[in-house]
Amino acid sequence: MAPAPARRLAVSTRLAAWALILVLLWSVAYPNAAVVAGSFAHGLGYWRAFIESPADREALWTSVWISVVSVVAACAIGVPLAFLLARREFPGRRALRAVATLPAALPPLVGVVAFIFLYGESGVITRAVQAVLHRETPPWSLSGAWAIIFVHAYTLYVYVFLFISAGLENYDSALDEAAAGLGAGRVRRLVRITLPLLMPALAAAMLLVFMASLGSFTAPYIFGGGLRVLATQIVTTRLNGAVGVSYVETTVLALSAVVALVLFRWLERRRQYVLPSKGGGRPARRRFRSPALRLAVAPLAAAIVLVLVLPHLMVILVAFARDGAWTTQILPPVYTLDNFRRLATDPAFLSPVRNSVAMTLLATTANVIVCTAVAILIVLRRFAGRGLLAALAALPWAVPATAIAIGLASTFNRTDLPTARILLIGTFWILPLAYFIRGVPLVTSAVESSLRQMDASLEDAARGLGANAWLVLRRVILPAARPGLVAGATLAAITAVGEFVASVVLYTHANRPISIDILAQMRDFAFGSAAAESTLLIAIVFLFTLAARERARA
């Protein structure tokens, strides 16, 4: 990490810094603090109830072990795939590269539903396998812990893949070549050189996967089959009317996440190597030497591509299937345009789309402004509150979406200026605020990473040439921040437009988003319409990605 230049802050900049700290303290830290305070409202009473409840202990334990196994599973898929795509040349490589990140673009609720249709006991794949094997009973059941881990592995390996790919992209092969010259074998080089060098990237990715699994709500909610994890237990406890205990559960969930954060950060720091870049460059992609492997790799790649694309395809297929006609067959037997026709003729249909897009634009715009300013201050300036600012911007990583939602719900439920509370429950604004909070770490860290690659002396040079602060910002800093800003904002927008977990707690009639409307369609027995609307959501996500690509190129 390059040390930031010790620039003395102008008064206006210092004011801006503290204003940002206040904004983040209020929106990010305060609601969580309110939840922690709420858990102690009866002294230790709620905590005692939590500790004495076998259900809560089971939920905590299950959450933790499922998250650990999810991390292992995501690494088992993501790491080899990243190596394969970075180091090898084979037919189908480009197609595989193109779809490798697709699972991240599948909105949470939609993804889970697609999995039911594919791999559920009466799903397409399950029934096909059953038919091929001539079995009386389905070969597996998509229920319980392993089903959840399966879904996590599919959706979360993308983090591992992206981080390791980036690590391999910047990988300097000089050290590798030196070791080879000294007689180290391939395995030895992998274990002693490549993996340690990739450790920071791997640790960061593992952290993300762990956090996402720990906070994962939809998968356990739909496939848990009664299995208890903390994220669903919080909602259950609230429904049973024990709000105090639900605060304890929320606090414990957030605490587990923070413990993991500290642990992984330590792991990341411990294994950080700074290499003098000698320009060995990225090793070239090679073909497989053994002919058998060379033959096998193309069909294998095709199979992986298919598996990755299947959930999207399945949602689209069901969107064209007639509701109720699909009972014991492998594939839906009757196809129709009715689902789309019903959506298009429903006068209420446009409002969730409008809501989701409007709230996403609001939240992402706020993210762009606030997070760019935060990242500039963190990377390019030095001042007393810098560490606090960085910690605040990273905090929402550590707090699962359910916990964020509960925090907002219990904080902004009345207007009380001395305690900085504003009534937001039941208003349009509560969801954009939630989306904004979830976007803060995404956008900030993306912009940070872009700014770190900027040569700090550029700013001094521009100033030396007489540019004022505004010109420097516009012509030097913002262009440098741009790649990260576009990537981070896109990610934040994609997350917001399909957001389900916080929305289901906080939405009101006035801002009902697409994901909640999909849930309502499902409640109304209209699986076809739910799939049609999901297809629309996938299309919106795709449009966002296209727009981002366009911006990045411009």
């Binding site: 009317g241 109720g324 349009f428």
Partner: protein
């Protein structure tokens, strides 16, 4: 550069446009919001007819599970969103009333609702009676072997073939479990036999579905064969979605859940909300609900021959389980907590 600026202008223009669209959507009518688990079909129908009768009122609704309605009404109490809460087992209404979340109102038909189907302080009134029944996949289970009564569910034939709504979220399931335990108390003086029965049911249960839709899918496609559910939803499933399900009314008697309606405390549209409650309980609307949406009216003054045939038949077949309401109100929460901790999935 110019192209980039034009694009930026287009983007911000689009943003503003979307926001403006989102902000204005009114036409001078008073809008009331209904929270309800009754489903789109019934809600749309009631809303359309109500708007015809009261042209200056516009009805919007939000369809969600009954437990969620209670949670929402409670969470939104400082800034109430809903004007009317239409539908949920009456003990949920009783809880909301106890917490001061509902306003009293006396509809003109109040006297026609039997005393056990409304709140003594008039904070909620029963609209429909919902029998809990046994549902089964009619493609895979022939009528001759289908379970006819509660105890049939414990037969080895259904071991791991039963799918139930998760009772934590489902008012219906709570009602059934409560009835089983109350029946045990009435017969033997203790809950022991009831717990034993529920343990055996748990052994036969393949899955507790959080989502009703998951239950419909799995039942319809044969992943599980039998369920316990409420009659109107099963009938809708069969008639509208053509999922192959049939139901049997338990011969020894079944809980008849009073499904209620109430004005939400703190609504800004008190008069309109009261009109809506009044309208839902009129004979004309109850007949529509009975004929088209399979709801059994809670009012007892409607002539038998004015009701559709199936209701007359159901009225003959259904033996309401006598349930000690006071016992249930006192014990249901703790019973469900015990069930959750010690019975679910073998405890």
């Amino acid at each position: 550069m110019i192209a980039a600026r034009a694009r930026a202008v287009a983007w911000s223009g689009a943003t503003v446009g979307v926001l403006v669209l989102a902000a204005c959507a009114h036409d001078g009518r008073t809008t009331i919001l209904v929270y309800s688990p009754h489903g789109k079909e019934l809600l749309q129908d009631v809303a359309t007819r109500f708007e015809r009768a009261y042209p200056h009122v516009h009805v919007e609704w939000e369809d969600m599970p009954s437990q969620t309605v209670l949670d929402r009404v409670r969470a939104e109490a400082p800034n109430p969103q809903a004007d009317i809460w239409f539908g949920a087992p009456s003990d949920l209404f009783a809880r909301a009333a106890r917490d001061g979340l509902l306003d009293p109102f006396t509809p003109s038909w109040a006297a026609e609702v039997p005393p056990e189907a409304h709140d003594s302080a008039e904070r909620w009134y029963g609209t429909y009676l919902t029998p809990e029944v046994i549902g089964y996949n009619s493609q895979l289970v022939p009528d001759s072997v289908a379970p006819k009564d509660w105890d049939d569910l414990l037969l080895p034939r259904w071991r791991q073939k039963i799918i139930l709504r998760d009772p934590v979220e489902s008012g219906s399931m709570k009602e059934v479990f409560g009835a089983i335990l109350a029946r045990s108390v009435a017969a033997t003086g203790s809950t022991a036999a009831g717990w034993q029965w529920l343990r055996r049911l748990d052994k036969s249960t393949k899955e507790y579905a959080f989502q009703p839709t998951v239950l419909y899918q799995k039942l319809g496609r044969g992943e599980a064969l039998v369920t316990i559910y409420n009659m109107p939803d099963l009938a809708t499933l069969e008639q509208r979605v053509h999922i192959p399900v049939k139901f049997a009314i338990p011969t020894s008697g079944t809980p008849l859940v009073v499904d209620a309606i109430a004005v939400v405390h703190g609504t800004h549209h008190v008069a309109e909300a009261q009109w809506f409650e009044e309208f839902v309980g009129t004979p004309a609307m109850l007949l529509v609900a009975a004929r088209d949406h399979l709801r059994i009216p809670a009012r007892i003054d409607l002539a038998d021959d004015s009701l559709p045939g199936w209701i007359r038949m159901a009225r003959r077949q259904i033996r309401p389980l006598p349930i000690d309401r006071a016992l249930l109100a006192d014990s249901l929460d703790s019973w469900m907590q015990y069930w959750d901790a010690h019975v679910r999935r073998g405890g």
